[in-house]
Symmetry: C2
Subunit: 194 residues, 2 copies
């Protein structure tokens, strides 16, 4: 049976950090550097956190976010061996629901609507793997948690980490091989690249 | 630990049958009786199935559906003992995403956004119970399937059936008691009320 992967949207396949920095500069005239986001809760990295957060509720914020580098090729590659579900905590920003649906349709047309899940709490999603940038999701997932590097999570050490989509594909392929060949050891925990 | 219930929207907490019949009459001048829907795939029950199906894509179809009789009181009651998730296959009708969110906010304001899930395929949703009117969901759920009676499913016999929200609350309460007292037998399969 094919294994299943739940893949988060924001900061995993959608480059929300870059989008947020650009929009903050457009609206408030201050350009925050990517380095300034390292190790801080996302909105706290901006000079005015409340103003930064208000941008998340503006029409278009999610619709026009750039695609994360390598995500399209990676998901196409993983789809050969896994059933992929896009799982986004979109319910926190209800105006984003249709924007996120349209964004996926534009950039990931090879993902069926049957494999898209917009939710709040991800703890009832049961897949073999979850690739996500947030501990609030990874800590409670039912499968193997895979931490996708984002500025805010660089100090986290308690999950297997991937820094980009090349590493993510390599990890998942190694996990597949290990599960098919019991003589190989799972890479779970062995490929931390912090 | 509190057990979890996934609850479908259409034909379970939202009275889609009544809504569909009313809108079909408004648009096409023919009133279909509720009895005409019995035992048939939903759209096939209308004189022009394609025309009936086209109504599902019209703005407002889901937003203004009536609430299923007794659903609000039942969910409030169940919430005392269970963690409730609304799980709707909304992704098939993407324009319904925000309508369904607003509908829930209006009629079920006591359900947090954290407990709302809009998806396509429900097979990766892992809750202890699933209350749904469709076999395509119930047959693949990870918990105990509970068939909520709708016109199209009246001939189904392979899941525990509830005909209304009074029966659903009674079943879930009995299940809770049985799980807390091993001397009682689970009602699973014993309360078929077809």
């Amino acid at each position: 049976m094919r294994k299943t992967i739940a893949i988060d949207m924001d900061n995993v396949i959608a480059d929300i950090e870059t989008n947020w920095i650009n929009l903050y500069e457009n609206e408030f005239g201050v350009r925050v550097k990517k380095e300034d986001l390292l190790g801080k809760p996302e909105d706290d990295a901006f000079p005015d956190p409340a103003a930064a957060r208000s941008l998340l509720y503006k029409p278009g914020f999610f619709r026009f976010a750039p695609v994360m580098n390598g995500a399209q090729e990676a998901l196409k590659e993983l789809q050969k061996d896994f059933d992929i579900y896009i799982v986004s905590a979109a319910m926190e920003f209800p105006t984003s629901l249709f924007e996120k649906y349209e964004w996926l349709n534009e950039h990931f047309p090879f993902i069926s609507w049957k494999n898209i899940i917009f939710c709040g709490d991800k703890s009832v999603i049961d897949t073999d793997f979850l690739i996500d940038d947030h501990l609030k999701n990874l800590d409670f997932c039912k499968g193997m948690p895979v931490l996708f590097t984002a500025g805010h999570n660089i100090h986290v050490t308690r999950h297997t980490r991937v820094n980009n989509w090349t590493e993510a594909v390599a990890l998942l392929k190694a996990e597949k091989e290990a599960s098919e060949n019991p003589l190989l050891t799972s890479t779970n925990g062995a490929v931390k690249t912090v």
